[in-house]
Each structure stands twice: as C-alpha cells, then as structure tokens.
C-alpha cells in the first residue's frame, strides 16, 4: 500500500496530489512541468511537502501535522530518476552491490556480491558485471538501475521517465521487462511518463496530472476512451475533439456541430446544452463506396473528401474534410487494403453513437 496526500506551493507551481495505490503500477502521466517528478520526490523524501501525509506499507513516513518526516534513507523506496543514475565510477557489479553492502539491509561482502551477480543475471547482464557505465549502452544502464533498485528490496517503486532517452526498440524491450519484473515483485509502483503509449503499456491505472493536480485516474482503456476533460483528451491524443450543442431529434439525441450532427448513445441529455465530444480516430469506420451503409444503421454517416493519408506503420491515419472541419480516422493496414485511400477521393464515414464520448467537464 502506498498512500500519498501531499501538497507543495512553489513560485512556479502549486502541487496538490492525492494518490492511493495497491500492489499495482500507477502511471503518472502528464506534460512536462506538471509536477510529476516533484510529486515522486515528495514521496521519496527528497523534497519536503508543505502539508499532507505519506504512508508506505502501513508505516507513516511523512505527516506534516504529526511532525513526522523520515529521511529518504529510512523510507523503503526504490527510486530511479530520469537518467539511470548508475554511478559512473563503479562497475555494474559494484553499483548493484553497493546497497547490499551499505544500504538498509547489509550483507557480508561475499554474499552481497553473489546477490548482485544474481540480480545482474536476471537482467541478462552477468557478462557485463565488470563494465563501467561509460562502456555500457543506455538500455544496459537502465537494466543496471533496475537490478540495483531491486537490491534495496523496496516496498514501493518510484520510477521517473526511465526510458525517455532510449531508442524505440530498446524502449519497447524495457517496457516489457518492467512489466515482467513488476508482475513478480507486486509492490506499489509509480511510473512517470509523458508518452501515452508507454502509459497504456506499463500502467494498471493511469493518473493524468496537469498543472499540479490529478485530473483523472482510471484504467488505461477507460482514460484513453473516456477522458474527463479537454486537457486530458488532448494529452491522451484522443484525436477528434468536437464542440457543439445537444439537440433532440426523431431518433433520440445528437450533437450538432459544424462538422455535422453526431448521434449520441442514450443518456441524460439536455436539449440545447453546449457540449464537447471526443471521437477517437480508431472509433470511426471508413465505408467502401460499393457497399450500402445498412450495416451501420444506428451510426452517424458523414461524407467528405480525403485530404491526407499518413502511414504510421502499425496504423494508417486518414484525414477527411467533411465540410466545416476535418475528422481524423485511423485504421489498420489490413483494413485499409480494400479501400481506396487517396487524397482527393471521397470517403464515407460511420461513427457509432457509443464512440462519441461527451466530456463530463469540457474545460477551456
């Protein structure tokens, strides 16, 4: 268990955060400058909150009212900062062995070395035990950092954008590796990132942090599909953000927008209320010209002209001008095979009502 209710007022930012974690990975996601690193540092005891309480595995390590403030040394945390922080003057083995020799729990030299070697082995680094950081790749350094953090036998893991500086393939490997060892470890972990994909891959839950506060917490799919407000929608790259007005029509309710009227799933709609909706690019279907739209009877059908087709490898993003604005649609390369996706060609789009997510708090 990790409970952190902390606040801190700085000239540049005001942080007020309330987090509660079980044995899971919570991704702290947000733009740079949102206060993610500071939050984690407050939990680690590296930064002193103005008020609040931090509890790690049942032990109160900080309580402003009770005057409790344990130093980082006495909080059972494993902390990995943005850059791996592997000590440059020590070998990989010495790095991992250091907390085993001089940390919270100390082992005799021989045993510390054996344990360190076993940890390096676990990350496939046994042959690199004698290497100095200057001779290691970024991916190897991060692995050493993880091996070292496990050596401290932490009760909470705090990881601050550990893969941000790595090449994409290495990053993907390390995300998988992180998931693997966090499944074995099963302790509360806070993982900071500003990469949506990473957030979704690594996190059991995602907490969206904007300007010092948490805007939304939820499972990745829920946060991605149902962002709470416009900021969150933008941050999770929800795609199409459309402003309009709820109107009543013969089949229920629709969102009337400059792009057209989007049918809404049944709900407690109020006629005439201004609203903002999010439609994820993968929620929109492109219909073949020669097929009837009967299959999409309940959906909104909008026609437009393709203005841009961008191949992202695992998906293809198509921009369609529907008059009054554009919608971005994404589809898999296999789905795109049967369609003629060329700029200038017409396209018919189908948007199922359940894909039109109206923001609870539209924001600015």
């Amino acid at each position: 268990m990790l409970v952190a209710r902390v606040g801190l007022a700085l000239p540049s930012i005001r942080i007020d955060v309330d987090l509660e974690l079980g044995d899971e990975t919570l991704v702290l996601f947000g733009p740079s400058g949102a206060g993610k690193s500071l939050t984690v540092k407050m939990i680690a005891g590296l930064e002193r909150p103005d008020y609040g309480r931090v509890e790690i595995a049942g032990q109160t390590v900080f309580d402003a009212d009770a005057g409790i403030d344990l130093e980082p040394q006495r909080r059972d945390i494993g902390y990995i900062p943005q850059r791996s922080g592997v000590f440059p003057h020590l070998t990989a083995l010495e790095n991992v062995a250091l907390p085993l020799r001089r940390g919270r729990k100390r082992y005799p030299a021989r045993e510390a070395e054996e344990r360190a070697l076993a940890l390096l082995e676990r990350f496939g680094l046994r042959e690199r035990a004698g290497a100095k950081p200057a001779q290691m790749s970024g991916g190897e350094l991060q692995r050493v950092a993880f091996a070292r953090v496990l050596a401290t036998e932490p009760k909470v893991l705090l990881v601050d954008e550990p893969f941000a500086a790595l090449d994409a393939p290495v990053r993907a490997d390390l995300r998988r590796e992180f998931r693997r060892f966090q499944r074995e470890l099963r302790i509360p972990a806070i993982f900071i990132t500003h990469d949506v994909e990473e957030a979704a891959v690594v996190g059991d839950r995602i907490a969206i942090m904007v300007a010092g506060t948490i805007r939304q917490v939820g499972e990745p799919r829920q946060v991605l599909d149902r962002p709470a407000d416009r900021d969150v929608a933008r941050l999770v790259q929800a795609g199409n953000i459309i402003d309009g007005r709820v109107v009543r029509c013969e089949y229920g309710y629709a969102l009337e927008t400059p792009l057209g009227a989007f049918r809404l799933a049944p709900g407690g709609w109020k006629d005439g209320a201004p609203a903002t909706a999010v439609v994820r690019p993968e929620g929109i279907r492109i219909l073949r010209e020669d097929r009837s739209a009967a299959r999409f009877a309940g959906s909104t059908i909008i026609s437009g002209v393709i203005t841009d087709v961008a191949d992202h490898g695992s998906m293809i993003a198509v921009t369609v001008n529907v008059g009054g604005g554009s919608l971005v649609v994404s589809l898999s390369p296999t789905a795109a095979e049967n369609l003629e996706l060329v700029p200038g060609k017409p396209a018919r789009l189908a948007i199922p009502p359940e894909r039109v997510h109206v923001l609870a708090a539209p924001g600015a």
Partner: protein
C-alpha cells in the same frame, strides 16, 4: 568554340575541388592557429631552456645541492608546502562542499571573501598578515601574551603566508568538482539507504576526486612559488624562513647569478615532475562526474 551568348555550364575549378565542406569552411586557416600557438610555446620554453643552458654552461646545475643554504631552502620549501597543502585540503574541502552543495544567506559574500587572497597582491597579503599577527599587530600581543606564540619570522609564518595565498585555488577547484556532481547520484544513494557519511565517502569524494587533485596541485605549486607574502610576513632568514624563491632572490641580490640559476633549475624540475605525475594520475583515474 562555344557560343559566348549561351550560359556556360558551371565547372568546379580544379583548385577548389578539395575545399573543406560544412563547418570546416568556417575554421580559421590552420596555419594561423599553428603559428600563434607556436609563438606562445616559444614564449614559455625559451626562458625555461635558457636557465638550463646557462646552468650547463656554468656547470652549476648540480653543485649548489652541496651548499647547506640550498639544502636548507629546499627542505624548508618541501616541508612548508606539504603542511600548507594538508591545511588547504583539511580546511578547504568542507568549505568547498558547503559552497557547492548548500544555499544560504550571504553565500556570495563568503565565496568572494574566500577568493579574495587569490587576487590580492602577495605583498599586500604579507603586510596584512603582519599587521594582524605581528608582534605589534592586532592579535600579536594576545598570541604572545596568553599563548606564548610568536608567529612572525618563524616557519609557522611561512606556512600561514603560503596557505593564505594558495588555499583559494584549492577551494575553487574543489567547489567546482562538488558542484558538477549530478544531484541524481546523491538522491539515489540516499534512497538506497546509504548514510550521509557513506554517500560522501563512496560517491561524492570519488566523483570529485579529479577536481580535488587538480586543486591540490595548483595550490601546492602556488605555495612553492610564494614569495611576496612570505618575505613580508616571515622574513628572509636562512634555515628558518628562507624558502627556495627567497633563496633565489637572495642569491641574485648578492650577485651570485649561478646559484640563482641552479636553484631555479631545481624548482623547475620539481614542478615539472609533479605536473607530469598529476597528468598521469588524472588520465588513468576513473570517469569524472557527468
């Protein structure tokens, strides 16, 4: 013959085919850089070489080593600079750490004061020390009356003069060394459960070591060459306060140029040896802090 009215195709002139590309195009001509560096080197080497050439000519380079005056001066210089270095490291390291790692009111003032002796003319430093600690100085009566200590014109005075003038060099370098250590390292070390002392011993010190060493070398070299403050505060007494530079001065004053040359040769040799050792040490030392 081609029609002169037609635009002629552009042909790269033969001479420009190998023109450097990219940023190299903006470099100053290589010859100019080498020339000016060469002049600089000559400016440094000619005087040094002159000493050795004259010394060999006079066959005086080794002889003064038998001279008790020279022996005394050399011994005194080595002993006092060693003590000065020890003092500088012992007193300067905590100060450097404080300045590098802490924020406090009046830090700029403290920092400036510590640097001050470095830019102060040594003669002024000597006078200041004399007026402070001299027999009739501000603290002199107290020192001699209560503690029975008389500093001026003793070996202690030599050490004080050297330390006063040379210590800032060590502090500056050490401070820079401590400052360049990434906070991440120290924070991780703390979260690993390492005590403050352990962090200092196993992380901070090794990472700052190259800077500490180079500061030590600079300080030692400055102390070895100290002249102005020493002669003002400690005086020039053979066997007691007469360090190598003072001995050189006395020889020259006494018209004994060859002894002065020989003494200088010794100093150059000693300094050069230390510099070489230092270079070797810092090249093979572990990676410096990021």
């Amino acid at each position: 013959m081609s029609d002169p009215r037609l635009p002629r195709p552009y042909v790269e002139p033969a001479g420009r085919a190998s023109r450097p590309r990219g940023w190299r195009r903006f470099r100053a001509p290589d010859s100019l850089l080498w020339l000016s560096t060469g002049v600089l080197l000559a400016f440094i080497l000619i005087p040094l070489a002159a000493i050795f050439l004259r010394g060999i000519e006079d066959q005086q380079l080794i002889r003064p080593l038998d001279d008790p005056l020279v022996q005394d001066a050399l011994a005194l210089s080595l002993v006092t600079t060693a003590i000065t270095l020890a003092l500088a490291v012992a007193l300067g390291t905590p100060a450097a750490y404080l300045l590098a790692r802490y924020r406090f009111r009046g830090k700029a003032v403290v920092s400036t004061l510590i640097d001050l002796p470095m830019v102060l003319p040594p003669a002024v430093a000597g006078i200041a020390l004399l007026i402070a600690f001299g027999r009739r100085g501000v603290l002199g009566p107290a020192l001699s009356g209560f503690l029975g200590v008389e500093l001026p014109f003793t070996m202690a005075a030599v050490v004080i003069a050297q330390t006063f003038v040379a210590m800032p060099l060590y502090i500056r370098s050490a401070r820079a060394g401590f400052e360049t250590i990434d906070d991440d390292y120290l924070q991780i070390a703390a979260t690993m459960g390492l005590s403050r002392l352990t962090i200092f011993r196993t992380i901070t010190l090794p990472l700052a070591l190259p800077a500490l060493l180079s500061g030590a070398v600079l300080t030692w070299a400055r102390a070895l060459g100290e002249f102005g403050a020493t002669i003002m505060f400690a005086g020039n007494f053979a066997g007691r306060t007469q360090t190598m530079p003072l001995a050189i001065y006395q020889s020259l004053e006494g018209g004994d140029l060859s002894t002065a040359i020989a003494l200088s040769g010794i100093l150059i040799a000693v300094s050069f040896t230390v510099l070489i050792i230092f270079q070797v040490l810092t090249c093979t030392s572990p990676e410096t802090a990021r």
